[in-house]
Symmetry: C2
Subunit: 65 residues, 2 copies
């Protein structure tokens, strides 16, 4: 399967936020919605820093609380 793990950049380190993510959608107000293969859903105020699909990695940076 071609899911990816979503990491949050914190003090230049990548912390796992949600694994096996299938769907990711930027929304109004700078929020990003994501859902993984288990159906778990999370939304946070962040921006996408980089996506590396072959590494199954999406890195976000929080921009709000």
């Amino acid at each position: 399967m071609c899911e990816a793990s979503v990491y949050l950049l914190k003090d230049d380190k990548e912390e796992l936020f949600l694994d096996s993510v299938d769907i990711l959608e930027p929304q109004e107000g700078g929020k990003i919605y994501m859902r993984n293969l288990a159906g778990e859903q999370k939304t946070l105020t962040a921006r996408i820093k980089r996506i590396r699909l072959v590494e199954h990695k999406i890195v976000l940076e929080k921009t709000g609380d």
Copy 2:
């Protein structure tokens, strides 16, 4: 491999923009940089509409020229 095809949303239709994309990075000024497995690189002014990894699909919407 877990690459994805990047599509551009145009008149509510998705047009293929770059296939086999591995790396995607939003940049300053609302630009998005991407590179595929063949080493082909493209940058355009756009925003990410949705990412569907299991479908190998990333949909962008142009926001400038």
